[in-house]
Amino acid sequence: MMPSILALMPMLVIGFGALALMLAEVLTDAKTGLAVGTAVVLFTAAAFACAGWMVGPENLGDAAVFAPWLVFDRFTLFFEVLLALSGALAALVAGGYLREHGIDRGEFYAILSFSTLGAMMLAAAGDVLMLFVGLETMSIGAYALAGFRRGSPKSAEGALKYFLLGSFAAALMMFGFALLYGATGHTDLAGLHNALASESLRSPSIVIALALVLAGLAFKVSAVPFHMWTPDAYEGAPTPATAFMAASVKAGGFAVLLRVLLTVFGDERSASWATGWPPVVALLAVLTMTVANLVAGRQESIKRMLAYSSIAHAGYLLVGVVAAIRAPAQAQSAVLFYLATYSVSTIGAFAALVLCGSRGAEVVSYEDLAGLGRRHPAVALPFAFFILSLAGMPPMAGFFGKWFVFKAAMDAGLHGLTVIAFINSVIAAYYYLKVFVFLYMREPAAGAPIAKPMWSGEVVTAIALCAFFVLLLGLAPGAVLDAALAVGGAG
């Protein structure tokens, strides 16, 4: 019994932790400790997931009692650690941001915790029913976080677009799974895989099901042309919520995308270049990278630029997914490692952006950054640091993330796709370097409003942790890379 409890521990800790936070908020006056409390809960969950990893999923034998609903393999455990850490970092950023901007309502932390729990369910789902419960738990939390700033029409607009399109995408995905159920009689992912792999089954409705499921998944990871909601939702949401959506929700989306494409549609026919999803995903990847990078260069708003940047990163990740057709283990590990580097870099960038501004003097456009490097070097430096990592400059985590994904794609023989991805990361350097130009080489126009940095211990802690992870993944990627490879090896 013990090992099965250990497998479930990360989810239990977050679930009961979130309930405790809700009660603490309404029954006591402990407003200030909620962010730290949430971070402690999520770090504890990450620690339990690490413990599960040490014990090894093969020794969590009793965890099979949760089958087929929840699958506790290394894939799940990797995502549990990643999601819990991302959630904790976003909660710390929220602690400083919400207080500064006068929207310090405790709902944020409960929603963030439940949404993280939903993303974990999504990563662990072994059945379509569980997948849907996880998807909705994660998404409803994200919709509420996007619309959290009630006073702002932009927040409301972004949240409404996100909600309507997100619900529609979830419905499309369910339609696809319903067709699959009709064709195979299975709702568990393993059973679906076996049924699809059997030669006898060649129902055309499976192709339509695949298209519908793929459209829903592409929406969740905001791949072009399903990205329309992303800039508005990211811009309107409070910045910590944006960081959470860019890191955790995207990671959750990729977890289910990998699970569905590589497990359910991982059979010979569905995963072949001639008759399956790879060309479609490759097209999505090319469109996503190219459109996002070209549009990102034309943005005035920093948050919108970072939103398009996150779309572009989804494109690179999709390149890794396509590479999984020839070298599944290597490509999957590369995608997982990339997700880890991208998550810490993007949360760090948003945290540093929070620190650069204060109430009434936020950083909105590039102009607001002008001269910040000279006036306030201490807050400009972290922002520049994380932007470098997102751009994929060598000593940072982002570089190795890109390196492994591109290498996996090369090894899989996808030369054209790799070249396009490489050209795209060069184009992306333009708008990332623009940040540097404004930070260090421009002065604000006379009389223009200038951003005033804020101070918050929580945000600084989050930035320090993100910077630590960025350097760790950049300078000593060994441990995390081995973990990602172990996932691929096991799967």
Binding site: G15, L19, L23, E25, V26, L27, A110
Partner: protein, 120 residues
């Protein structure tokens, strides 16, 4: 196919629809109809009607309605559990209590947040 089991229910539907249709038809066919400008004015308890045709409701209705949906779904889960209460034994009781505990925290939360209060 066991729809036939519900034949009495459908007969009730048919009878209700038929009676309603009958009365409306009779009223339309037999009733005198002398429209005038005065008669087609909007009627609001004798006073002249005023203001927009459709008022916007407060967001409080939305919060109440969505809380209702959540607790409605909870009751949907409780019902089959209650039917099987004896055969499920202690394990079933513990499962349901765990679920209800979570929902209870939600209720306390909504209550303390003032989500159930009308005048705020």
């Amino acid at each position: 196919m066991h729809v036939q089991t519900y034949a009495p229910m459908f007969m009730l539907f048919v009878a209700a629809t038929a009676i309603a249709t009958l009365f409306f038809t009779l009223a339309t066919v037999l009733g005198p109809s002398k429209p005038s400008a005065e008669k087609s004015l909007p009627f609001e308890c004798g006073s002249d009607s005023d203001g927009a045709q459709h008022v916007r409701l407060s967001v409080k209705f939305y919060l109440t309605a969505i809380l209702f949906v959540v607790f409605d779904i909870e009751s949907v889960f409780v019902y089959p559990w209650a039917i099987q209460f004896r055969s499920l034994g202690w394990m079933g009781l513990a499962s349901m209590m765990g679920f209800l505990l979570v929902i209870l925290v939600g209720l306390v939360y909504a209550w303390k947040k003032g989500a159930l209060e009308w005048e705020t």
